[in-house]
């Protein structure tokens, strides 16, 4: 009976670019779910519009435990996220979380890879690694963009060495994030990644080739968001201990997985 939906208040809403929005939401003291939040976890956001019943899973971009606030950077991909983007400071929104398992922070040189709307969770991770005593030069962030719309890039600067790849070559390495990793001969002891499936496949292959452990954050359509409905499964290499088939629940067992335990 511990958990329940909480009513968060919108502290700010900002359009970063195109369809990318940044929203800070704050919580009351008794419902300060920001305290337990970890990089890589997500929230279920609920629409007000009654014709949209299912929660939208949104990854956590930044955590302010003291002020009891969370930052969500999301892309408007449908009517639900469109509704969120219209919320203004002072509006309220029902949320559930933090949900899922976040990234496990490892010491030493690390490579943080984010692609497209997979970039936001890497910001909190970079901050967390830095605050945990990581040296800035050991926190290597590779961000993959479509073009020169480099949302969030500057915000990584205080905590990490930032490298960029763009599909159109307008900025940084022309190509994908792995091209950037190779071009700059980035190396490290742990890979953290979040982004589209093709990118995750590339990251997994790269990590395997270089014998580096990789933590990847997966995405899948969800319903309950808490592991009950078995909607958001991904294929696992071995038979999963919970499902007893080769399926893992992205919302509950993930969204962050060891790259080696899932089939992409």
């Amino acid at each position: 009976m511990a958990k329940r939906k909480v009513l968060a208040q919108v502290a700010s809403q900002e359009r970063l670019s195109g369809e990318i929005y940044s929203m800070w939401i704050s919580f009351s003291e008794e419902d300060n779910i920001a305290e337990e939040a970890q990089a890589g976890q997500f929230l279920s956001l609920y629409c007000r519009e009654g014709s949209r019943l299912l929660p939208r899973p949104i990854s956590i971009c930044e955590i302010d435990r003291e002020k009891g606030r969370l930052r969500l950077v999301y892309r408007v991909a449908g009517e639900g996220t469109r509704e969120f983007s219209t919320l203004q400071e002072g509006d309220t929104i029902e949320v559930l979380g933090p949900l899922g398992n976040g990234f496990t922070k490892k010491e030493g040189k690390s490579i943080l890879i984010g692609g497209g709307i997979g970039i936001p969770p890497m910001l909190e991770l970079a901050k967390a690694l830095f605050k945990a005593g990581g040296k800035k030069e050991d926190i290597q962030v590779v961000l993959g963009y479509r073009d020169n719309d480099l949302f969030l890039k500057e915000e990584f600067a205080p905590y990490a060495e930032v490298f960029v790849s763009t599909e159109d070559g307008s900025v940084g390495t022309k190509g994908n994030v792995i091209d950037a990793v190779n071009e700059h001969q980035i190396s490290g002891g742990e890979v953290y990644a979040c982004g589209p499936l093709p990118m995750l496949r590339g990251v997994k292959a790269y990590a395997k080739e270089h014998h580096i452990p990789a933590q990847i954050s997966m995405e899948e359509r969800m319903a309950c968001g808490i592991g009950a409905c078995l909607v958001c499964v991904c294929m696992s290499k071995e038979t999963d201990a919970h499902s007893h088939v080769k399926n893992k629940r992205v919302c509950k067992d993930g969204p962050v997985f060891d790259a080696e335990e899932v089939e992409l």
Partner: protein, 303 residues
């Protein structure tokens, strides 16, 4: 709460402290929901369908949202009866609530196998899923033919040690035919409705929103169809009816009860509001208070 109010019902010989349970497949075995709902407060917990062996289920995407509802095509992924008995049942048996086990299979033999395995277990009721629209074999195939409904009901009754409730499909011309067939086969109760077969097309990708092409429609959108079928079924048979389909709150649940359901199940709406089932129990009690209803039985089939 006023202790004078009696919410308890006798359902197929099982005493339920209140008429509210969870719809199979929306609540797992309760483990993930216990943080949100006091399982002791429910009349029963209905578990996700379990088969004789583990099932992988369908490929993703398994879900899409629709107007006031959703389509799912999970395909009854489940860990199989062994794990269910070892892990899920002991978890539920810690609670002071009834356990309704939903049983699925691809052949009559598979259903019977699962029912046999459950014979010695401390569970209150068996719900036989002959209405899942998302599996290639079994499921709905059995639920759309009255002869098959009666036959499989009888085969299960022959081996069942607990009362048997047949879960009926709404994807039929005449629900009363199916209800009567289940009764004729010896069913102790029926539950309805399972989901309506539906489809969503992603017009930008020009393909199906679900990997399975079709899925089961659930949620508030389908409630009027569910209430109608529960009313028809309850008036066609003498065995008790468990009603479900789009219940969001106590008002919705009371519609089903007044239509003739002795019990109700909360399903899809729990994805929007995780404590919905417990809230429905409270809401029903509040309605009884306000309207001076001493016993829930006064409301069952009162229209």
């Amino acid at each position: 709460m006023n202790t004078e109010r009696n919410l308890s019902v006798d359902f197929a010989g099982v005493r339920m402290k209140n008429p509210v349970t969870t719809a199979s497949g929306t609540f797992g075995s309760g483990m993930e929901f216990e943080e949100f709902v006091d399982l002791n407060g429910l009349g029963a917990v209905t578990t996700k369908g379990v088969a004789s062996v583990p099932w992988e289920g369908n490929p993703v995407p398994r879900i899409c949202e629709t107007y006031g509802g959703m389509l799912n095509a999970i395909g009854l992924q489940n860990p199989g009866i062994d794990v269910f008995i070892e892990r899920d049942l002991p978890f539920l048996q810690k609670y002071d609530t009834n356990i309704i086990v939903n049983v699925c299979g691809k052949t009559p033999e598979e259903y019977v196998e699962v029912v046999r395995r459950l014979a010695a277990e401390k569970i209150s009721l068996l719900e036989i899923n002959i209405s899942c629209p998302n599996v290639k074999a079994g499921g709905i195939a059995f639920g759309q033919n009255p002869k098959l409904v009666e036959k499989i009901t009888r085969e299960i009754k022959d081996v069942a040690k607990q009362p048997v409730m047949m879960k009926l499909s709404p994807n039929v011309t005449d629900i009363t035919e199916m209800a009567k067939a289940a009764e004729a086969g010896g069913a102790d109760a029926i539950s309805l409705i399972n989901t309506l077969t539906g489809m969503k097309i992603d017009i930008h990708r020009r393909s199906f929103a679900l990997a399975n092409k079709t899925g089961g429609l659930s949620g508030p959108a389908i409630k009027p169809v569910a209430v109608r079928m529960v009313y028809q079924a309850a008036h066609a048979v003498k065995i008790p009816v468990l009603g479900m389909g789009g219940i969001r709150n106590a008002e919705d649940a009371l519609e089903f009860i007044m239509a003739g359901a002795s019990m109700v199940a909360v399903g899809t709406y729990q994805f929007h509001h995780p404590s919905a089932a417990a809230d429905v129990v409270q809401g029903i009690e509040a309605f009884m208070e306000e309207n001076g209803v001493k016993d829930i039985k006064e409301l069952i089939g009162c229209v």
